[in-house]
C-alpha cells in the first residue's frame, strides 16, 4: 500500500506540526501530530490525533517516527 504524507498545521493548541496521511485513492486515513518537547508523556513522538474508518478508535498510539506510523497504518488497512 502506497501512502502519501502531506505536511499540515493542526490547531491542537499545543502540538501544531502535523501530517495528513492519504491512501492510493487520495482518501484521508489519519492525522498525525508531532508532540512538542513540552509534552510530558512522549515528547518528539508522532501521535495519532485522528483516524477514520478502520483507524478510528479510542486507541491512539504514538510512534517514534513516521516510518513506524506507516507500518502501523499499513498493517491495519492491509
Amino acid at each position: 500500500m502506497n501512502l502519501t504524507f502531506q505536511p499540515v498545521r493542526v490547531a491542537t493548541g499545543s502540538d501544531e506540526e502535523g501530517v495528513l496521511v492519504f491512501d492510493e485513492e487520495r482518501r484521508l486515513l489519519v492525522v498525525l501530530t508531532r508532540l512538542s518537547s513540552d509534552n510530558e508523556v512522549a515528547p518528539g513522538q508522532w501521535f495519532l490525533e485522528a483516524g477514520f474508518g478502520r483507524l478510528e478508535g479510542r486507541s491512539q498510539p504514538t510512534f517514534s517516527d513516521l516510518e513506524a506510523a506507516q507500518d502501523w497504518i499499513s498493517q491495519r488497512i492491509g
Binding site: 493548541g13 508532540l35 509534552n39 508523556v41
Partner: protein
C-alpha cells in the same frame, strides 16, 4: 498481624461518626472488629476479578483503584479509593467479584472478615445502614463518572475529577485548604478518564496555564477553588457528605 485500632486512627469509625453519633456500644463493637493489617507496595492487586473473598478491605492509608480489564487487555479504572473506603464491601453479599482492586501508591489496608461484618451488622442495625449507605454512595460516584466519561469534554472531565478527589480527601482529613497529596500518574488518569495519556497531559498543562491547578511532585494545589469547580461543572451533591464544610 491482627490488632484493633483506636477509634481516632480508624477511618471507618471516623466515617460513620460523620453520619450519626455512635453509642458507646456501637463504638466498642467497631473498635473490636477484628482486622488483619497489611502493608502493600504500589501497583499490586489486592483482589482480582473472579475472586470470592471471605473478607473486605478497609483502606487505612494510600490510594487504590477499582478496575476492569477488556478482552484486549485495556484497563478501565472505575473509581479511585482513599482512606476510609471499603472498595470491596459488596463482596459481603455478592459472592464473586466482578472487578479488581489494585494499589496505586504504597498502602496500609485492614482486612475485616465477612463473618465479623455480618455479626456487627446483625447486632447494630445503624452500623448496617451506615455501611449500606457507603455502597449507595459508591454507586452515585459510578453514575457521575459514567456521565463524565460519556458526555463531558476532556477539560471539564479532568477538572471535575480533581474536584471530586480534593473534596473526598478533605472529608477524611487528608487535604488542607485546597491542597492534597495525589499520587496518581497521568497514565492512571488516562485509564480512569477514557482519554489518551497525550490528551491528559495536554489538559493538565492547559489547567496549569489557566491558573486552575498547581502541582509539585505528587502535591496538587488549587489556587482558586471556585474557578476549578466552575471549570469542572462540579456539584458535590452526589458525594452526599454530611459535613457541610467539607467542600468549603
Amino acid at each position: 498481624m491482627t490488632l484493633t485500632l483506636h477509634s481516632t486512627d480508624n477511618p471507618l469509625i471516623r466515617k460513620l461518626e460523620s453520619i450519626f453519633v455512635l453509642t458507646n456500644d456501637e463504638r466498642r463493637a467497631l473498635e473490636n472488629l477484628p482486622m488483619q493489617i497489611a502493608v502493600i507496595k504500589d501497583d499490586q492487586d489486592i483482589v482480582r476479578e473472579g475472586d470470592s473473598p471471605s473478607r473486605s478491605c478497609l483502606i487505612l492509608s494510600g490510594f487504590t483503584c477499582t478496575y476492569k480489564v477488556t478482552a484486549e487487555g485495556k484497563r478501565q479504572i472505575v473509581s479511585f479509593n482513599i482512606p476510609g473506603d471499603i472498595p470491596d464491601l459488596q463482596s459481603l453479599h455478592l459472592k464473586v467479584l466482578d472487578n479488581g482492586i489494585s494499589t496505586l501508591s504504597p498502602c496500609r489496608v485492614g482486612f475485616i472478615p465477612h463473618e465479623a461484618l455480618r455479626d456487627i451488622c446483625a447486632r447494630y442495625p445503624r452500623i448496617a445502614s451506615g455501611l449500606w449507605r457507603e455502597t449507595l454512595i459508591d454507586a452515585a460516584i459510578f453514575r457521575e463518572w459514567m456521565t463524565s466519561i460519556g458526555r463531558r469534554e476532556a477539560y471539564i472531565r479532568i477538572a471535575h475529577l480533581l474536584c471530586e478527589l480534593l473534596v473526598r480527601m478533605k472529608a477524611v482529613g487528608l487535604a488542607e485548604e485546597h491542597s492534597c497529596d495525589l499520587p496518581i500518574t497521568q497514565a492512571e488518569f488516562s485509564d480512569a478518564l477514557g482519554l489518551t495519556t497525550v490528551h491528559v497531559n495536554r489538559v493538565l498543562q492547559a489547567l496549569r496555564a489557566d491558573g486552575l491547578i498547581q502541582s509539585k511532585g505528587t502535591r496538587l494545589s488549587v489556587p482558586d477553588w471556585n474557578k476549578l469547580m466552575e471549570a469542572g461543572e462540579f456539584d458535590p451533591g452526589y458525594l452526599h457528605l454530611v459535613q457541610e464544610d467539607a467542600a468549603a
